[in-house]
């Protein structure tokens, strides 16, 4: 289980990026963080990954406190971030240098097979398309079998078709080891497609606005009424989160009045 307790981040220049984030994510749960730009979603992932330090609060994974990069936490960035001087297979196996050669090759081959890139194992990253490169990055994160996987808008630069096929690859890989997943996205439909729960964040400073469970049967049908109503509900929550505070309060007041009547 991932626990975030009163997590805050203020940068050296005084930017208040995150305020008082408290969140629990169950084992094997897929949670998506949704929110407008600048609401600290990426900052939050960087804190959990150990790339930045929180100003206050703490992060625990299965009771163990995380303060720096941890072997049980994997991350896929917005860009593939492949090392251009390594072949596709060597990129996937980059984090496995502690394993023996045979074991490493077997794991890499399996992961490449799962993302459908076996025949590209010996190529350079530059020879792959953007979607293929991101698949390599996903394989690189999964191959170390992390308990917690952080995904920072990994599909945002891809076209709709590629994105849909990557969603399938991701769920297929997830199903093998069932890690806990924290997915940052600004795409509501993506959140509803993948997540068990959506957490909506609000900017200035970044904080949690609301959350919405997504209890839809898998595999999910994008045309089913349940999918559509969940999408619509999440969109309206997101809309509310982007309104200035006083407007939101006035609206809540109006709703209360309507109930009273």
């Amino acid at each position: 289980m991932l626990e975030l307790a009163r997590l805050s981040k203020t940068y050296a220049d005084g930017t208040h990026a995150l305020a008082d984030i408290t969140l629990e994510v169950r084992e094997s749960e897929i949670v998506s963080l949704v929110g407008g730009s600048g609401c600290g979603k990426t900052t939050l992932l960087r804190l959990i990954a150990g790339l930045d330090r929180p100003s206050s609060g703490e992060i625990r994974l299965d009771g163990e406190r995380l303060t720096e990069p941890n072997p049980s936490v994997g991350i896929v960035f917005q860009e593939p971030r492949l090392l251009p001087w390594l072949s596709v297979a060597d990129n996937v196996g980059f984090g496995l240098s502690a394993l023996s050669g045979g074991e490493r090759r077997a794991r890499v081959a399996h992961a490449l097979d799962r993302v459908g890139l076996s025949e590209h194992a010996g190529r350079w990253p530059r020879e792959l398309s953007g979607g293929q490169q991101q698949r390599v990055a996903i394989a690189r994160a999964f191959v170390t079998e992390p308990k917690l996987l952080l995904l920072d808008e990994p599909f945002s630069a891809l076209d709709a078709f590629t994105r849909a096929s990557l969603h399938e690859h991701l769920l297929g890989l997830w199903d093998e080891s069932r890690p806990t997943v924290l997915l940052v996205t600004h795409d509501v439909q993506e959140a509803v497609t993948l997540a068990d729960r959506a957490v909506v964040m609000q900017p200035k400073p970044g904080r949690i606005f609301d959350e919405q469970p997504l209890r839809l049967a898998r595999p999910r049908d994008k045309l089913s009424p349940g999918f559509e109503s969940a999408t619509r509900r999440l969109l309206s929550t997101l809309d509310n989160s982007l309104k200035p505070a006083h407007l939101a309060k006035a609206e809540r007041g109006r709703e209360a009045a309507a109930l009273w009547w």
Binding site: L83, W85, W124
Partner: protein, 280 residues
């Protein structure tokens, strides 16, 4: 109107189809194209001298230069001089490049080292390297040591700057990948920094090598009994322009050969690079 527009359109299509511009060049001709200008000029000059249109005393025709070069090669003199020059460049380049890589790596990876070293090195760099010649002669004598020292100084600065600059500009995003996989400082240097700076390191080594050949001439001007630079001075003092030109040609061939060797030896290391064109 339509008739005028049509050929222009066809030309545009052809341009889009070929990568080398408006006039496609056959592969065999591409290589020969570079030889066209020098060979044409040489042939023109030869004919002009033969026809009596030019005197050719101060600017000897190619045939006389070739004769001189052949005579020098046959007597073994050419090899003695070329070998002396090559040895000086090799030793000076090795010392200069090694210290440039070492200090450049220090300066690039540690801020403390950069603050300590860089201002002094930048100040030293501002001194024209030839200005060291009198001092080096006083310190190291007029024989090999002072010459090698001058070449090493000339090679050092481009390599130092190239390495330090390359390390400082390594993509933070790739360094973060290393941090995510918890690489030690040594592994980070070996598995991420080194391959990332390699292309720029090779470029700086090449310019260092070029400067090495420049400074070997200066070094041999300041008093040498052998070396291609000595052939130049000797040719000037005895009024033998054909010997000067023969030495210049030997320099050109040697410099180009050394550079090509460096490029060929290191090409397998940078095969992964995503470059649009073959580099010069």
């Amino acid at each position: 109107m339509a008739e005028i527009a049509a050929p222009a359109q066809a030309q545009g299509e052809r341009r889009a189809g070929s990568s080398s511009g408006a006039f496609p060049i056959a592969p065999g001709v591409k290589w020969a194209l570079g030889l066209f200008l020098p060979l044409g000029l040489a042939l023109g000059w030869e004919l002009a001298v033969r026809a009596g249109l030019a005197e050719g005393r101060l600017m000897p025709p190619p045939s006389r230069i070739a004769e001189t070069l052949y005579a020098l090669a046959r007597s073994g003199e050419l090899w003695t001089h070329a070998w002396a020059t090559l040895w000086r460049v090799a030793v000076g380049f090795a010392i200069g490049a090694a210290s440039g890589i070492l200090l450049g790596a220090l300066s690039g990876t540690s801020e403390a080292a950069r603050r300590l070293l860089d201002p002094t090195l930048q100040a030293l760099r501002a001194i024209p390297s030839i200005a060291w010649v009198p001092l080096f002669i006083l310190w190291f004598g007029i024989f090999e040591a002072s010459k090698v020292a001058l070449i090493a100084v000339g090679t050092f600065f481009p390599v130092y700057l190239g390495v330090a600059g390359a390390i400082l500009s390594v993509d933070r995003k790739l360094v973060e990948v290393g941090r995510i996989f918890r690489l030690s400082r040594l592994d980070l240097a070996r598995r991420i920094l080194l391959p990332a700076v390699l292309p720029e390191l090779l470029v700086s080594l090449r310019s260092g090598l070029g400067l090495g050949f420049m400074f070997v001439v200066a070094a041999e001007f300041m008093g040498a009994s052998e070396g291609l630079g000595y052939l130049l001075v000797d040719g000037q003092q005895l009024g033998k322009p054909d010997q000067i030109l023969a030495a210049i040609i030997a320099f050109a061939v040697m410099g180009k050969a050394a550079d090509s060797l460096l490029v060929a030896a290191t090409r397998p290391l940078v095969r992964w690079q995503d470059v649009a064109r073959e580099r010069l």
